[in-house]
């Protein structure tokens, strides 16, 4: 499946538009990670646990979106956007949405 965050795919043309597909998730890490993060807050640096949290959330939301597109019989998702929202400290809400389409190589 071709997924882009642009409105067109260079080298392909859109044959059919299937519609909006989306996926979202709210995830958190175990309390140990939150405690480790508050300690790391004293010395600074990357919070690997929270980076991982975002990566996992993004993947899950992305997979749900891809699943919807597959069900619709699309072979590409265009103009994918991500949105985050603040639910509570230590949690991440990720929402991925895009337009499912059928693309064909431009001859």
């Amino acid at each position: 499946m071709i997924v882009t965050n642009t409105e067109t795919v260079p080298g392909y043309h859109v044959a059919e538009i299937k519609g909006l597909v989306q996926g979202n998730t709210v995830r958190s890490k175990h309390a140990g990670r939150d405690i480790a993060a508050s300690f790391k807050n004293l010395v600074g640096g990357e919070l690997k646990g929270y980076t991982e949290l975002l990566t996992e959330s993004r993947r899950q939301a992305f997979e749900r979106m891809m699943g919807q597109a597959q069900q619709l019989g699309a072979n590409a998702i265009l103009n994918v956007r991500f949105t985050t929202s603040a639910v509570t400290a230590g949690a991440a809400e990720l929402y991925a949405y895009g337009t499912a389409v059928v693309v064909q190589p431009a001859s």
Partner: protein, 162 residues
């Protein structure tokens, strides 16, 4: 006595922020500089269409344009958080937090570039940044001062694929 002890603890944490935090930050900047130098030649734009048009139709069918995503979460240190508190009282530019955002954005971008380069691409367009609030900056009982950045871009081939 108790007051003196508390003052000592605060000074110790400020020192920790100054030395360890400063060291962590300068090391991160050095690493970013090195990685950016290594990724030279990989073209990144935030344009909505490929600058100068796609490399060639053959290239895009062999290795179709594909989205790449990366995230980075950078924590503040005790000194930065303390200084920002002082700055908030007087108002003005919070320079200590500015570097945090810079580090998070550059780190996220480099992760995209490295992933895309490993997959065989040599350019990316339509770069977008998104920030998340994991530390709970908008919640009442805030605990951690962090900057979380999510970056997305679509990678493509400028040069024809061999």
């Amino acid at each position: 006595m108790a007051l003196l002890f508390q003052l000592g603890a605060v000074l110790l944490l400020l020192g920790l922020g100054f030395f360890v935090g400063g060291y962590v930050e300068s090391r991160h900047f050095k690493r970013l500089d090195a990685r950016e130098a290594e990724a030279e030649g990989f073209l990144v734009t935030q344009l909505k269409s490929i600058p100068g048009g796609a490399g060639s139709a053959a290239a895009s069918t062999r290795l179709p344009p594909q989205i790449f995503m990366a995230e980075a979460v950078i924590a503040s240190d005790y000194l930065k958080t303390f200084l920002s508190g002082v700055r908030k009282f007087f108002g003005g530019e919070m320079r200590s937090y500015q570097t945090l955002l810079e580090r998070a954005r550059r780190e996220a971008l480099m992760r995209i570039v490295e992933q895309a380069r490993d997959a065989g691409y040599d350019a990316a367009y339509n770069l977008r940044y998104e920030t998340a609030d994991i530390g709970g900056a908008t919640s009442k009982q805030r605990r951690v001062v962090t900057v979380a950045v999510l970056a997305t871009a679509t990678a493509y081939c400028r040069e024809p694929v061999a």
